[in-house]
């Protein structure tokens, strides 16, 4: 009983997060300017990180937690680098 409830809730949450990633991907494709695309990529990273965390809850393994941590780090670094690039035209001065 509790397994069924939890499996349904986690599967629904995964579908919702996949829809969120789809919205962000659509904004990346359509976004009128470069800063819209960078913002949508940041959102895509966050939604992907949350999706990996739900997989971690589902399987009960901590491997997914570590990959979510790596995705969070990489999302921060890439968004900062791209924002710097939009501002100055180069990443490392």
């Amino acid at each position: 009983m509790s397994i069924l409830i939890l499996a349904l809730a986690i599967t629904m949450a995964q579908i919702l997060l996949a829809l969120a990633m789809g919205c962000a991907a659509f904004r990346i494709l359509r976004g009128p300017r470069a800063q819209d695309r960078v913002l949508a990529m940041d959102g895509l990273y966050v939604a992907g990180m949350l999706l990996l965390l739900t997989y971690g809850i589902q399987t009960g393994r901590t491997l997914f937690f570590e990959s979510a941590l790596v995705i969070g780090l990489l999302g921060f670094a890439s968004t900062v680098a791209l924002a710097k690039f939009l501002m100055r035209g180069e990443v490392i001065e």
Partner: protein, 126 residues
Amino acid sequence: MIQAPDLPLWAAIIVGLLVLLGAAITLIGMIGLLRLGNFYERIHPPTLGTTLGMACILAASMISFSVLHSRPMVHEILIATFVMLTTPITLMLLARAALYRDRSEGSKIVPPDLTAPPAGDEQNRT
């Protein structure tokens, strides 16, 4: 595919509700990213996912692992502190970059820079 950890009923209900709530809040934020009009409106909604949505899913993960291993497992706090520290930094950098680009193009949707030096002097601009 029916797969879930074997939690007691109370923990299963709490974890399921928190996971669903977090995912729904993240989806609402991303729909806002899709629907709002210009960049300065669009920069707000994704923070729903990085604050409340992430907090709900991380709390669900903490409860699930703690009940499953019958000892406190709070390593998710790492992700929480990291994302909560870095999201304002990245979004403020991005908004400053977008403002700089819009102003240098003379766009109509941003207000003029009142602190800028009068003409041709780009040295003092941060």
